[in-house]
Amino acid sequence: MGKAILEAKGISKFFHDPNTIKVLDGISFTLEKGEFVSITGKSGCGKSTLLYILSTMDTDYEGDLFIDGQSMRNRKEKELARVRNAQIGFVFQFHYLLNEFNVLRNVMLPGLKLGVLTEEEIEHAAINKLKILGIENEALKMPNQLSGGQKQRVAIARALINDPLIIMGDEPTGNLDKKNSEIVFDIFQELATNYQQSLLIVTHDQEFAARTKRIIEMEDGRIIN
C-alpha cells in the first residue's frame, strides 16, 4: 500500500434547484500514489459533480476531503486556488485552451502562476512535457491551428506542468475518435507506470476503464464497486 494522496470521507452533495435532490450520497474512497483509477457509471449518476468537489472547485458539500493529508474544508478561496495550481492537474472533455496564447504559453501559464521556477526553467519544463506527449513541434502554434486530439494533449501537458500529485479528467477522451482516445489513454498509462503519476479519470468508455488499475463504479450518487 502506497501513501494516500486523496481521501474522500462521506462526501454528500445536494442541489436545491428546482427541488432538493441528493446527487452524492456519502462517497468515501482513497487514492494512493501512482494509482490509475477510473470512475464509471450511468449518465447523471454524479460523476462530474464528484470530480468538481474533489478538484476543490466546488466547495458546497458535506463530508470531508483530504489532499496530501490536508483537509480542504473551510479553506479560503485563495488557498484552494493554490492547491489546484500546485497539486491538481485537470483535463476536461473540451480542451479549454486560452486562444490568446500559443501552445507553449498555454502550457506554461500554471507554472508561471506557481512562481517557483524562473520563466526559462518553466519554458524548458513545458517543452519537456510537450515532448512526452509527442507534440513539441506544435509548441509555437496557436490553439485554433491544432486538431482536437492535439489540443487535448496540450491540455494534458498543461495539467502536468507543475508535477501535480494527481491528474483528474472528466471524460478527457469523450470528444475524441478511437485513435486519438487510444493515444491519450497510452499517455495516461505511461504517466502512471513511468512517472508514478496518480490519475483519476471519469469515463464512459468501458474499454478505457477496463484497462485502468482500479474502477470505481457509481450509481445514483453512491459507489457500488
Binding site: E77, F92, G115
Partner: protein, 419 residues
C-alpha cells in the same frame, strides 16, 4: 513575477480585442482632450473678463461719503421719558469731498504688509465743452506710476504715450468714446468746466479704451496735480485711496478694519463687484460639469467593453481559475485592462488637450473692446492636466470595478458544466 504574469495576460486579452479597446480608449482621449481644452479656454476667458473689471478695480477703496450725521444734537439728551423726537429732512452740511489726513493714511497703508500697493485718486465731475454744448464727464486724477503698477493703466492707453500724462503739465488722456464724440486728435487742446463753473484748458496726450463703452464715453484721466489744480484744492487733496492686497480674499475683513481705524468709508471688491465673482464661479462650474460628464460617458464605454470581454472570455476565466488563478488574480487582470485603457487614452488626451489649447491660443480674436487681446485667451495651468489625469484614472477604475468583480466571482464549475 506575479504582476508581470497578470499584466501579460491583461495585454493578451486587450490585444485580442484591440478594436473595441481602441474605441474605448478613444472615448477617454476625446473626453480628456475636451476637458482640458474647455477648462483652459474657460479659465482664459474668465481671467480676461475678470481683467476687464477686477484687475482694474481696487481691492479696497477708501473714500469720504458726504452724508448727514447719524448723530443729531437732540440725542445728547438721552432717551425721552414722555415722548419721542421726530427730526425729518436732515441734510448733510457743506462738507468737503476729500479724505482728511490722506497723506498719513497713505503712509500707514504703505507699511501694512498685507497691502501690495496704494494708489491715490481724485474723482470729479466735469463738462467737456464742445462748441456750444457740454458733455458730462468724469476726470480721474491719478498717480500715473502707481496706477500703471496696480491697474495696468498703460495697457489701456491705446493712442499716445501714457507717461506724457505725468510729464506734460495740464494734460489729459481722454476716453476713446468721449474723444470720438468731440472729434479730438492727439495734441489738441480741449476745454472743460468744473462743477463750480471754472473753465480749464487741457492738452490731449492720449486716448483711453477700457473695453466698456459706457466708461469710455465719460471717463478721462489727468495726473493728481492737474486735477488738484482744476478743483482748486491743495496738493494733499485726495478723494479716494485705492489699494491692492496680497490676498484678495482678505479684502472684506480688512475693509471693515480700515473703516474702524480711519473712520472713513471702505468698500471691498467682493461687495462692490459680487456679480463678477458669481459669473466666474458659474462658468468654471459649467466647464467642470461638462468635462466630468464627458469622462463619465467614456467610463461607460470602458464598462461596456469590459463587460463584453468578460462575457466572451468566460471560458478563459473558468480555465484560469481551474488551473489555480484566484478570484483576486482575475480581478487584478480586468482592473489592469480598465486602467491601461484609461491611462493610455488619458495620456493621449493630455497631449491632444494641450494641442487643442495651443490651437485655440492661435486663433485671432480682435475686438475693439479689448485692445490688449489679439488671440483667444487660454490658461495653460498645470492643475487642469493633473485634475484630468486623476479623473481619468479614477473613472476608468470605477468603470472596471464592477466588471472585474463580476469576473472574479465567476464559478468555473458552472461554466465547465455548461459546455
Amino acid at each position: 513575477m506575479k504582476l508581470k504574469l497578470l499584466a501579460s495576460i491583461s495585454i493578451s486579452l486587450l490585444v485580442a480585442r484591440w478594436r473595441q479597446t481602441l474605441v474605448a480608449a478613444v472615448g477617454v482621449t476625446f473626453s480628456i482632450t475636451m476637458f482640458i481644452a474647455l477648462l483652459s479656454f474657460m479659465a482664459g476667458l474668465n481671467a480676461m473678463l475678470d481683467g476687464l473689471i477686477i484687475n482694474r478695480t481696487a481691492h479696497i477703496r477708501l473714500y469720504n461719503e458726504i452724508q448727514p450725521s447719524s448723530f443729531q444734537p437732540i440725542e445728547h439728551y438721552g432717551p425721552l421719558e414722555n415722548g419721542h423726537h421726530f427730526i425729518r429732512s436732515i441734510k448733510p452740511k457743506n462738507d468737503r469731498m476729500g479724505i482728511y489726513n490722506s497723506a498719513a493714511i497713505t503712509e500707514t497703508l504703505k507699511h501694512d504688509k498685507r497691502v501690495m500697493g496704494v494708489a491715490p485718486k481724485i474723482t470729479t465731475q466735469v463738462f467737456y465743452n464742445v462748441g456750444a454744448t457740454d458733455l458730462a464727464g468724469v476726470i480721474n486724477g491719478i498717480d500715473v506710476d502707481a496706477e500703471t503698477k496696480l491697474f495696468s493703466f498703460k495697457d489701456y492707453v491705446v493712442q499716445g504715450n501714457y507717461i506724457d500724462l505725468k510729464n506734460t503739465p495740464n494734460s489729459i488722456v481722454l476716453g476713446k468714446g468721449a474723444a470720438e464724440k468731440m472729434l479730438v486728435q492727439l495734441g489738441d487742446v480741449i476745454q472743460i468746466s468744473t462743477p463750480k463753473g471754472e473753465q480749464f484748458q487741457l492738452k490731449v496726450v492720449g486716448f483711453f479704451q477700457s473695453g466698456l463703452q459706457e466708461i469710455d464715453k465719460v471717463q478721462s484721466y489727468c495726473s493728481t496735480q492737474t486735477t488738484q489744480k482744476i478743483l482748486g484744492e491743495s496738493n494733499t487733496f485726495m478723494s479716494d485711496i485705492q489699494m491692492k492686497l496680497v490676498d484678495i480674499n482678505m479684502a472684506p475683513a480688512m475693509a471693515k478694519e480700515y473703516h474702524k481705524v480711519f473712520g472713513i468709508e471702505a468698500v471691498d471688491i467682493q461687495t462692490a463687484n459680487s456679480q463678477f465673482e458669481t459669473g466666474t464661479k458659474v462658468r468654471t462650474l459649467i466647464s467642470y460639469v461638462v468635462g466630468i460628464t464627458l469622462l463619465i460617458v467614456a467610463g461607460f464605454g470602458i464598462y461596456n467593453i469590459l463587460n463584453m470581454m468578460i462575457y466572451e472570455k468566460m471560458d478563459s476565466i473558468a480555465i484560469l481559475k481551474a488551473t489555480g488563478f484566484s478570484g483576486k488574480d482575475v480581478n487584478a487582470i480586468f482592473i489592469a485592462i480598465a486602467l491601461s485603457i484609461g491611462v493610455f487614452g488619458g495620456l493621449l488626451g493630455l497631449l491632444f488637450g494641450f494641442g487643442l489649447t495651443a490651437l485655440i491660443d492661435q486663433i485671432p480674436f480682435n475686438t475693439s473692446a479689448l485692445p490688449t487681446i489679439k488671440t483667444y485667451p487660454v490658461d495653460y495651468s498645470m492643475s487642469y492636466y493633473i485634475i484630468a489625469s486623476i479623473f481619468s484614472v479614477f473613472t476608468t477604475y470605477l468603470a472596471g470595478f464592477l466588471p472585474a468583480r463580476k469576473a472574479s466571482r465567476i464559478d468555473p464549475v458552472i461554466i465547465i458544466r455548461g459546455k
